[in-house]
């Protein structure tokens, strides 16, 4: 559970985060989406009590930042932007150091559990200098979980990973989601946010929108339906635009692309109209705009 109230952070002249107000319930996977320099890392640092806000307040797992900082750090796990390992020590030794600093009782047990979980058990005695980027990243996720925190912050968990390693990390995130933890993910990767997150905040210094991935797409663009016709012309498009449920329609080759408020309800009417106008309807389908378009539009307008 995370709540923030007008959370603001200024560095000298730069305002990195301004009046951020959020409420993230227990067990939610929350996507924090924004371009470079949006203030994502700064937000995570405030919420993990690494830096203090200029103004505003926040609680994490019921502890107020700036007041119960040690309790916050005990109850959260953090995957930092860069993994940061003691490269001439073994993977196991690295994790044992952190387990001890996180006050883990059964150090060997927890370290072993997560090394196995992430498929790094065989390599546990190798120094981390010999690890690939993806392995270091997975090890860093293990570090964030050693003390079984209720809330996990993942700052760009798959940045700089190849597609296969990214997939592994994503699957892993879905697994830890099953354990009921609250997960706060910073990312640029929209596909990823859509696949993993219950809700997505688009953020650029200020909160721009906050919604489920599906609603987000609908909210910005409405929904688009493509009618594939054997033959189509502009006259047909004009007819369709007349309908009150259709906000926009375009002719692309033999296809008509229409923006429709509620396609489930209105498509049959439109198809009837097309048929009565003599069109041969081959296929009807929804045009799924990528979330990327939504995001780029939001950020451009901000």
């Amino acid at each position: 559970m995370i709540t923030t109230q007008n959370l603001t952070k200024r560095f000298d002249q730069i305002t990195a985060v301004e009046n951020l107000t959020l409420e993230i319930p227990e067990g939610e996977v929350f996507g924090f989406l924004g371009p470079n320099g949006a203030g994502k890392t700064t937000t995570v640092r405030m919420l993990t009590s690494l830096i203090s806000p200029t103004s505003g307040s926040a609680t994490v797992n019921g502890h107020a930042i700036g007041e119960r900082d040690i309790d916050i750090r005990r109850s959260v796990g953090l995957l930092t932007e860069t993994p940061g390992w003691y490269d001439n020590l073994s993977a196991e030794r690295n994790l044992e150091i952190y387990a001890s600093l996180y006050e883990v009782e059964d150090i060997k047990g927890q370290v072993g559990k997560y090394l196995r979980f992430l498929g790094l058990w065989e390599r546990r005695l190798d120094v981390t200098a010999t690890f690939s980027k993806g392995m270091k990243q997975k090890l860093a996720i293990a570090r964030a979980l050693l003390h079984e925190p209720r809330t996990v912050f993942l700052d760009e968990p798959t940045a700089a990973l190849d597609p296969e390693a990214s997939r592994l990390v994503r699957e892993f995130i879905l697994e830890i989601k099953q354990q009921g933890r609250t997960i706060f993910i910073c990312t640029h990767n929209l596909d990823e946010a859509e696949r993993l997150c219950d809700r997505i905040a688009v953020f650029k210094t200020r909160l721009l929108v906050l919604d489920s991935p599906a609603n987000l797409r609908r909210q910005v663009f409405g929904r688009k339906v493509v009618f594939h016709l054997l033959q189509a012309d502009q006259a047909l498009v004009e007819k369709i635009i007349q309908l009150p449920q259709v906000t926009e329609a375009k002719l692309i080759d033999h296809k008509i692309v229409a923006t429709i408020d509620d396609p489930e309800k209105h498509n049959p009417e439109i198809i009837r109209l097309l048929v009565s106008e003599g069109a041969d309807v081959q296929f009807v389908g929804e045009l799924r705009r990528s979330l990327e378009d939504v995001y780029l539009q939001l950020v451009k307008n901000a």
Binding site: F11, R45, T48, L50, I51, S52, I70, R73, R74, V76, L78, T80, T82, P83, G84, W85, Y86, D87, N88, L89, R93, I97, Y98, S100, L101, Y102, E103, A140, R143
Partner: protein
Amino acid sequence: MKKIQTIIRKEWSEVFKNRMVLFTVAFLPLLLTAIPLGIIYATSSSAEFAGASSEIPGEINAFCPSDFSGGDCFQVFIVSQFMIMFMIIPLAIPASISSYSIVGEKVNRSLEPLLATPITTTELLIGKSLAAIIPALAATWIGFTIFILGTWIIIANPEIIGYFLDGRWLIAIFVIGPLMALSAVSFSIIISSRVNDPRVAEQVSMIIILPVLAAFFGQMAGIITLNITFMLASVIVLALVDAVLVFFSIRLFQRETIITRWK
């Protein structure tokens, strides 16, 4: 307490893998113990020094109790010179270890995950400081013990041994040594916060040994005499210097400062 131990053990398992640090920690004390022992051995076995009090310059004779022979006095003088050099150990070792241990964290980018754990910055600072001070004092004291034992074996003159074990050197080894180690650690923490290459941090931190070199040449030139007053004055000055350096290193060693200002 347990976290401090974790930090100390971590520093040692990491930093002693570094050849530069290992060199400073192992060879420097070896060298600074072996050289004065070698000189004592050479001068005590050569007859020329035995009664040659007329050839010994006046400053050196003035340096010893009047009942010392010229040869004894020469030995005492040379060894005292090297004993000053010996005080480089409690400065150089902490400077070297803490440069690598702090700038090393910067290079690894491990400060942020480290500071995200429930450790306090005080615990971290104490852990890192002790990790640098303990080996320094161990090397100083072991080196000093070896030196005393070696002198005992070579010259077997209780008067000269007594001279080395008098109050001045006990103050130097057991009071000035630890104070120096603390100043070296604090100084290199301050340097390390500004520097991104551990070798640069180490080299710059080594400025801290300059006062020892000044004392070395000062005594050689007869400008200063390492009497008990000089020793006690050094203790007071060092304690003040420590207070200032520790104050600034603690100010720099705040979580937010480390995350946002250490570049």
